[in-house]
Amino acid sequence: MSARPRSRPAIGDEIDGFRVLNCLHVGGMATLWTVERSGSPARYLMKVPRLGEGEDPAAIVSFEMEQMIMPRLSGPHVPKFIAAGDFEVLPYIVMDLVEGVPLSQRLAQLPLRPDEVARIGSQIAIALDDVHRQQVVHLDVKPGNILLCPSGEVVLVDFGLSTHAALPDLMEEEFRLPYGSAPYMAPEQVLGERRDPASDLFALGAVMYHLATDRTPFGDPQRMAGLRRRLWRDPVPPRQLDPDFPPWLQDTILRCLSVDPAERHPTAAQLAFDLSHPQQSVSGDRATKMHADGPFAVFRRRLAAPKSKPPRRSNAVSIASPAPILAVAVDLDEGSATIAASMRMQVARILRTMPQARLACLNVLKIARLTIDTALDDESRNKHVQRLVGLRHWAAELQLDPSRVTFHVLEATAPADAILEYIAANRVDHVILGARAKSIRKSLLGSVSAAVAAQAPCTVTIARSRGTYED
């Protein structure tokens, strides 16, 4: 509007109290600089859009989106927002300098081992779940935007193509062509849909495929026709490239790459769950197939492929997830039968109202102390198996599809801590556990249910059966 903004800073410049130390990166849409604030040893990252003549007009809009979205994001999986600059002087964003290595730097070491792919994939899924819960769809998940931190956690960067459910989408209004990264972009994103978190799951599937096979599932097409091809042409299954590739991981990756967003995992948290519990994933045709679909199936899909943006899915972005992960901590003692039945009823009710919810059945096997060779101890192994059998028996009456339920025996000295750790690690949305109405043991040892209720970061249901006094 007024004076033309400057397009980039120079080393040594002082900008709103930040001193520019050095240039880290010159990208197509922005330049990145290390800066410091006087009186503080901390270093920050300053991102400055390229706004000069002949630059991509999308750079401005994308930067505006990022300036709107970043201050609204928080948590360990995004860089912390520090400050933003006025567009009429020098537009910039200052954020925390994340100590992490871009996943793109590992592309030279591909293919990665399947367990490494699953580990990194589940960390990315956890980061995506965190961002999705903050109403943001990233829309540019690719190795260059994924930072691997020394802690093993993932930080997502570059929200320039993202959308926020509570903010106008400037990119959608401005441009007809889809923006994103061709090798990883979801088919609905190719058609212009920008509000569906499932698009990020597709991109993550493409990233995992790339890490596992050293090739991108759809190449790197540069034109719309090439981008659209992924609407009907399914990728070569990883097992065709490596017959030893684990079927469960192929199943998970190919599910992410489903053309229909509704066929992917309902949430990033559920995807993270599958990636971190491989032995329990169900295997089927998709898990074992050795070849891409034949020409007839592909031709049929091509004829049926939509030409324009399909209607938006109703649950595309929502804060209260319609596909929660439930955990139920079942006490298998004989004396707890009535409570166990009451808990089963609660679980059945919740699962009926939310068909995409999944259930983790937990039992805590209390051990006196942690020993190094527990796994080798026959007696404890027998106990463990017996508890698993008991859990399956408890759940049998629910008659759940095996893909919706998993069973876990947690060995721990402190049951409440074990349940709380499980809840945190697996992004559980709702935990159900039982409590005796009155118990001597409880008054002596403190109540597990009370500790979980007080400390769990999610919804907690405590089941009691009225009128039963035990112990």
């Binding site: 509007m1 007009p57 401005i60 809009v61 505006e64 300036q67 709107m68 006025d86 567009f87 009429e88 459910a165 509570a166 903010l167 106008p168 989408d169 400037l170 959608e172 209004e173 401005e174």
Partner: protein
């Protein structure tokens, strides 16, 4: 400065007082009233006199079509609205009627424009409810941000970097930054007769330091407001629609 923007109050005392209390709790420093203080509802005197009082304390008010219709021809109104205006004219005390007759159609305030409906022909009461009418209104002013009412449904329009118009339905309680390098038009929704199937009163707060626009919804005592409309002998449809938010 936090500006509370309220329009289409329509003689609904319960909704208006709930919004005033809410805005005061939110730390509003200034009130801007975007027209249509009367019509439809049963408390025209209380509403107009309260607004008149607030203007003596620094509030800003523009006129709406219902306010202008008092004592003038109203051939363009539907039957229920026309009846409500006849009734309002018969009820309104002299000071309130005089206050309404002095209100301007538009007011400019720093980089902001306040107007009841479209700004290109403010006396023609054109609805700003889609991108074309928003473009026409934005084209008629140099002000960076336009605030208006008239439509009874909250909506936000912005001019993009390439002069296209984006539209966005703001979510209640979620602030949207009205980026300084662009121009914007915000329709603030209706205090006294919301029509987006949400019965809660609608208004908005604009923070001039952050340029954030926040659409807000305030539940109020709909039963009492509707009961007064019935007791006044006004058309039943005007009472019934309040609880439906349409």
């Amino acid at each position: 400065m936090r500006i509370a923007l309220m329009g289409d109050i329509h003689s609904n005392r319960e909704a208006f007082s709930a919004c005033l209390a809410h805005a005061s709790e939110c730390g509003a420093d200034r009130y801007v009233f975007l027209g249509d203080y009367v019509g439809y509802g049963a408390d025209p005197n209380w509403v107009v006199n309260r607004i008149a009082e607030l203007t003596t304390e620094g509030a800003i008010a523009v006129a709406g079509n219902h306010d202008r219709a008092i004592g003038i021809e109203r051939s363009r109104m539907n039957a229920a609205a026309g009846m409500a205006i006849e009734w309002t004219a018969s009820q309104l005390d002299r000071t309130a009627a005089e206050f309404l007759s002095t209100l301007p159609l538009t007011i400019e305030d720093e980089d902001r424009l306040y107007v009841h409906a479209d700004a290109s022909r403010p006396g023609d009461w054109i609805y700003v409810d889609e991108t074309a009418s928003a473009a026409a209104s934005l084209g008629a002013t140099r002000q960076r941000v336009t605030f208006c009412g008239h439509v009874h449904v909250p909506m936000l329009f912005g001019i993009t970097a390439t002069q296209k118009i984006l539209s966005f339905a703001p979510l209640a309680g979620s602030p949207v930054p009205l980026l300084r390098q662009r121009r914007w038009l915000a329709v603030v929704g209706s205090v006294g007769q919301p029509r987006d199937r949400n019965s809660a009163a609608a208004y908005a707060i604009y923070d001039t330091s952050t340029c954030e626009f926040k659409s807000l919804r305030v539940p109020y005592d709909v039963e009492t407001a509707a009961g007064k409309i019935r007791a006044a002998g006004l058309p039943e449809s005007l009472a019934a629609r309040l609880s439906l938010g349409r």
